[in-house]
Symmetry: C2
Subunit: 334 residues, 2 copies
Amino acid sequence: MSGPTVYDVATAAQVSLATVDRVLNNRGGVSPTAVAKVKAAVAQTGYVRNLAAANLSRRRVYRFSFVVPSGDTGFVALLLNALERERLALLEEQILIQVIPTRAFDVANQVAALRSLNCDAVAVMASEAPEIQEEVTRLRAEGVRVVTLVADLPHSDREAYVGLDNVAAGRTAAEFTGRFIRGSGTVLMIAGSLSSRDHIERLMGFRRVMKERFAHLTLLPAVEGDDDAETVERLVTSATADQPLKGIYAIGAGNRGLVRAVSALDPKPVTIVHELTPTSREGLRDGTIDLVLDQDTSAAVVAAVRIMRNLTEMRDLPVDTGKIRLNIYSRENI
Amino acid sequence: MSGPTVYDVATAAQVSLATVDRVLNNRGGVSPTAVAKVKAAVAQTGYVRNLAAANLSRRRVYRFSFVVPSGDTGFVALLLNALERERLALLEEQILIQVIPTRAFDVANQVAALRSLNCDAVAVMASEAPEIQEEVTRLRAEGVRVVTLVADLPHSDREAYVGLDNVAAGRTAAEFTGRFIRGSGTVLMIAGSLSSRDHIERLMGFRRVMKERFAHLTLLPAVEGDDDAETVERLVTSATADQPLKGIYAIGAGNRGLVRAVSALDPKPVTIVHELTPTSREGLRDGTIDLVLDQDTSAAVVAAVRIMRNLTEMRDLPVDTGKIRLNIYSRENI
DNA sequence: ACGACTTTGAGGTACGTCAATCAATTTGGT
DNA sequence: ACCAAATTGATTGACGTACCTCAAAGTCGT
């Protein structure tokens, strides 16, 4: 009924079970001839390892950590929710996930979090600081597999990145901004922080497409909103003091302030923000926000876990790309 | 190391292993008191079933079938690819998937395919014909769990639908069509077939939003393209003979013909199509197509399998909704 | 032909759950 | 209080793989 087993392979290959085992789990010490025989037998019988049995036997428990900024609103809240939702199902598969909250932008705190780890693999969402890159290197040296989450650390030793292609996200935002705006005018870009790589990349993509395809629109210099509602609100109101805005691209958090500021404007600028949170969802519904670019947090968690498992399992082969799909939400689409 | 086992639960509950087993797998014949004790012990110890051991022990092999139209181009090709990609990984988890190709629109053929099944659950993509609905009812009566895929059969006995919310897809298409078009003019809608429910629903959503929010645009009566490139091409050219088109919403297959026709037009209408195939991808790239609305085939397959497994496993509780996310692709986003 | 070495075989235990059997005990009805 | 029925306990054998040990057989150089 349920497929050939290692015994069948051994029979077909005319070798002992031990040899089959040695080949299958490449333990070495097997002659090329025997290897070939076993491989042929595998192909011939159509043997496929029974994952359940394998996992049971080696009583492996995967210990994965997620080091992410804490926060009970906005994007990180969604991420934490997603983690919580997945936790039980993963537990059934012997995957223990531990969430280690850090303080956003607090490098020392994040380094401390990384230092305290005790796990097989870790997914990190942290600032792109040299101390952190070093810490990643140390972890890798200790045999911990490291994956970056949402915010990449491309110059570190991390083995995979799970998150958006931020340049493409910026390009997409520009395309829709450009096509939604009637006539010419100015467009405001608000980043959370101009030293955060993902935000910079989004800006890059946005600027490039604006220049390539929508040269009739003027870009104001990008401003920093610090992921803070009050700051964002202030920035928008002060920008509109000089001239009317035709469009706003808000890259970081703080959408609550954005919505407040924008809903006071008439005519409303074309407004595109990131991350589908309750606030941005509400903004879409009442027309304050035109488009939300979102990276699905559940998908991100699932992808991260999958990659971490592959990494700890195969010891290499991160064929898995962690590219998360860019979800575009509009009023009709939530 | 690896969590509490049933033995620990038995100890904590001060009952025998057999009783724990009876409660956990609700075999009945256990007093309410004992049930409570076991449940308390589970909560207290934090016991979580080891899926690997469970699957191994009951040597369950899931046999799932996918009944889908054959075809080596377009959407079904993507679907078949996705199935092929997932097959091996699923095999490792003792999930056998069998793909049964049918001839599109050939009801008798599809009924025959359904009749020949021998499996635990099936995902069906078929026409909405009474004969097929009956066949679904028969399957259900025989204990086969049935899920509809991409095209729903809402009046049948199917237990879940995996696919897009087609009304929302239509609404989204309308929103972007409306916002992309400058000035007023006419918009053409091409369905694959006006008797296919998913296409009807997309049309409905599209029409409704057009009327609600973009009343300055005129909708031509919807036409049938038969999912055929030649027909679609002919329809577009003949529609543009009377008056220039400002927009086209192509719901079904046959995008090759659409691209041919549209690229001959100047100015190009705003063109929105469904399903990211090589053709539509190319169209996006060269500017013939403005937007592609896509349902991710891999996601659909994964969701279908997951639901089928839940169904055959829990015998009910299809808490899982099979709503597939609507992916929006633009030139900057592929 | 000797030892040193590599390759192979045989066999066993463990993983945690499921499923089954059979005996022992309790409960309820009258 | 007695019999039938319901409930509980004790025990056992799979499931398929991983991993270990120990011995047997084969290979090689000198």
